[in-house]
């Protein structure tokens, strides 16, 4: 399909820059020395039913039930949701409300599964299902949804919904986002190194579903060995319309909008999505999961997670979803320091782990241990000196220092004017602030307050409208009543008119009576009609 008018060259032909960003030390080699491996089976798996954006999945199993590997545990709820499947065979031990791993102050239902050690697949899984090239787009997207696949880059948006919202819109290029940009995280790199073929195959399946021919795999420019591995896989698959493009490693180049800017020079509109530029974008992990769903008939039950930082043996694990955090840490050599902070995610955008008994979820790309002396101290921040460094590095081209002043003062109108919702929470501003102000935390709070305020305003507007409509309706009803009463009054004071009305009423009654007589024969009601008749006769004469 042809490129949109605004795109002067095919994506990836030339590389552009994006405003701001930071060159960071990436600390990735420490976790890529050892190859990818599966950890031993843990004692239990803790599977949240809200591992995705949207509504929690609804359980279809009961406590005590035996399930097999790949069996459906919870079905996608109505609306935006995703299914959850059993990562291994075992028994359902509990279904209860538990805190979410990556949003520890929120909670949702979670299933605790006790593995039985047999790792027995459900008979529906691992069956060859025919040639995916012959499947319709609907079929492919349905299978993707049924497999519970969500964006594995961290956004965890249900992939089936994301792709089907594009379906029908002309798209020309599929971008596979392998430009993992946060320091320490190497799960995507490891996945591509060891399973490049599967990633590219999954990409081709998604492209087929969307009617796209061209695929670009974007990786960081320092990874020469990875580029060669991908090229080799591409050659093996004989996929001529797939290109590997290396992008400069400027954090946050892995952000979808920044990546698209780099590859095409165009900005995705703030209120729009990549499909408006004819692009589709998915993570390498998501592509890999698609291959497993469509070709091996395996739902999403495991993912690559980097365990790194202050652990004795940092590495990448291909871990089952629901594997407890504590289990992964102990199999990575344990923490180097007991009081290290555990973060799920990267050092810049990750969330502190408050409960190590929780299991990893679909969006857990990294488990990072940070020694206390490497942590920031936000309580010791100084006032903002307006130095402008945050403005220089912001990829969304915002004015973070003015946003900060706005949020601090509670001036939400100002923050809305300055486009606070456009903040991608990348944390670049925090990393350059000489006053060590926790800017991104303020922006997250401000965004929530703004959303809350907008919601309240919308409700108030609706109430005002409904009240006004009700007032109008009551007014109209009152006017009609008054008009009727006036008319009735007028009629009552004019004898000739009154007579005419009575005559008309009597005529109608006679008519009705005749119809009744005609349809049902003589009945008891005749006497009444007869009375009317006689009254009328006496009146008329």
């Amino acid at each position: 399909m042809s490129l949109p008018a605004s795109m002067t060259h095919p994506p990836g032909a030339y590389l552009h820059g994006f405003h701001g960003g930071l060159k960071l030390r990436h600390y990735k080699q420490m976790s890529t020395r050892l190859g990818l491996a599966r950890p031993p089976l843990p004692a239990y798996l803790q599977l949240s039913l809200l591992q995705h954006v949207g509504v929690a999945a609804e359980p279809v199993v009961k406590v005590g039930q035996q399930v097999r590997k790949g069996e459906l545990l919870a079905t996608a709820a109505a609306g935006l949701s995703a299914a959850v499947h059993a990562p291994t065979s075992g028994r359902i031990d509990a279904i209860k409300e538990q805190a979410l791993l990556r949003k520890p102050t929120l909670a949702a239902a979670a299933i605790t599964l006790l593995p039985d050690g047999h790792d027995e697949w459900h008979p529906d899984c691992q069956r060859r299902i025919g040639n995916w090239r012959e499947f319709s787009a609907e079929n492919i997207l349905q299978r993707i949804s049924a497999a519970g696949i969500v964006g594995l880059g961290g956004a965890v948006f249900p992939t089936g919904s994301k792709l089907s919202s594009q379906w029908g819109m002309p798209a020309h290029t599929l971008i596979i986002n392998g430009a993992e940009c946060e320091p320490y995280i190497s799960c995507d790199e490891m996945l591509m190194r060891e399973h490049a073929g599967e990633v590219l195959l999954g990409a081709r399946i998604v492209a087929h579903a969307l009617g796209i021919d061209d695929i670009i795999v974007a990786i960081e420019d320092q990874l020469g060995a990875l580029a060669r591995a991908l090229e080799a896989a591409r050659a093996q698959l004989d996929d001529a319309q797939l290109r590997v493009v290396k992008v400069p490693a400027v954090y946050p180049e892995g952000g979808e909008r920044q990546l698209i800017k780099m590859l095409t020079g165009l900005e995705v509109p703030a209120d729009g999505f990549p499909q408006s530029l004819g692009l589709a974008c998915i993570n390498v992990g998501t592509a890999w999961a698609v291959k497993h769903a469509l070709i091996d008939r395996e739902p999403l039950i495991e993912r690559v997670i980097t365990v790194t930082g202050a652990v004795r043996e940092p590495r990448n694990w291909l871990a089952l979803l629901g594997t407890p955090i504590e289990h992964l840490i102990s199999h990575s050599g344990g923490l180097e320091q007991d009081n290290a902070r555990l973060v799920i995610g990267g050092p810049i955008m990750g969330e502190q782990v408050l409960d190590r008994a929780l299991g990893i979820d679909k969006g857990s790309n990294c488990l990072l241990a940070l020694a206390p002396d490497r942590l920031r101290q936000p309580e010791q921040s100084m006032p903002c000196i307006n130095c402008g460094e945050c403005v220089r590095v912001c990829p969304a081209m915002l004015l973070p220092q003015l946003l900060y002043h706005g949020v601090r003062k509670g001036d939400l109108g100002l923050t809305a004017e300055l486009k606070l919702p456009d903040c991608i929470e990348c944390g670049c501003c925090d990393l350059v602030c000489p006053s060590h102000i926790p800017l991104t935390d303020h922006f997250r709070a401000g965004k929530q307050l703004l959303a809350q305020q907008r919601q309240q305003q919308a409700r108030a507007d609706k109430s005002a409208r409904r009240h006004a409509a009700r007032e109008d309706r009551l007014q109209q009803a009152a006017e009609q009543r008054a008009a009727k009463a006036a008319a009735r009054q007028a009629r009552a004071s004019d004898p000739a008119q009154a007579q005419a009305v009575i005559a008309a009423a009597l005529a109608r009654a006679r008519q009705r009576q005749q119809e009744r007589d005609g349809s049902s024969g003589s009945q008891a009601g005749d006497s009444q009609a007869g009375d009317v008749h006689s009254e009328q006769d006496s009146e008329a004469s």
Binding site: S381, R408, K409, Q448, Q452, A460, S463, R466, H467, A469
Partner: protein, 185 residues
């Protein structure tokens, strides 16, 4: 006339003239009260509860614009609304008038269907038509439309309406080191 006296009289006349001119202008080109009413109304929470003594938020806004009502009579709006009105009108904020009611978190009316007798009295009372039903048919409150004004409670002959606190949408609490003014939920 001595120069000083002339000066004093001149200045007095000038002052008087300018003062008269200003007051004439103020009354002749009064701040467009319609626009002011709109702005005041936009700041009110639109609960339509009549606790302020006026039959709805717009009449209260009109009264404030006419200077007939004080700005501290809205319990659902609470201190936040009083502060906003004070800033708009250039006055000092004051505490909520306790005789109007107290500020409560947003409430939702819920009808107990076991006890409802279908009398429609609450439907007629609701200022935003948030109750769905008809005579001798089940009544129910449309939660998305209910403002928590409590006007449906007094008319109900069987006292089947309860008020529950609205569960706010799940949000991520903010870290301790974020300093923002305490905005009313």
């Amino acid at each position: 006339m001595p120069a000083t006296l002339t000066l004093v009289l001149l200045l007095a006349a000038l002052g008087l003239g300018i003062g008269l001119g200003l007051s004439l202008a103020a009354s002749r080109w009064r701040d467009n009260s319609d626009a002011l009413t709109e702005r005041i109304n936009a700041m009110l929470p639109q609960t339509q509860c009549a606790q302020c003594g006026y039959p709805g938020c717009r009449p209260y806004a009109e009264a404030i614009a006419r200077d007939d009502a004080d700005i501290n009579r809205c319990p659902p709006g609470g201190d936040a609304t009083i502060a906003a009105l004070a800033e708009l009108l250039g006055r000092e904020p004051k505490p909520l008038d306790a005789s109007c009611g107290e500020h409560k978190p947003t409430l939702l009316a819920v009808i107990d269907e076991q006890r409802c007798i279908g009398c429609t009295l609450c439907i007629q009372a609701c200022p935003v038509d948030a109750i769905s039903g008809a005579a001798k048919w089940m009544h129910t409150v449309i939660a998305a439309e209910c403002t928590g004004c409590e006007l449906c409670l007094p008319p109900c002959p069987v006292d089947c309406i309860d008020l529950i606190e609205v569960t706010p949408p799940s949000q991520r609490p903010i870290p301790l080191h974020v300093h923002i003014p305490d905005l009313a939920a």
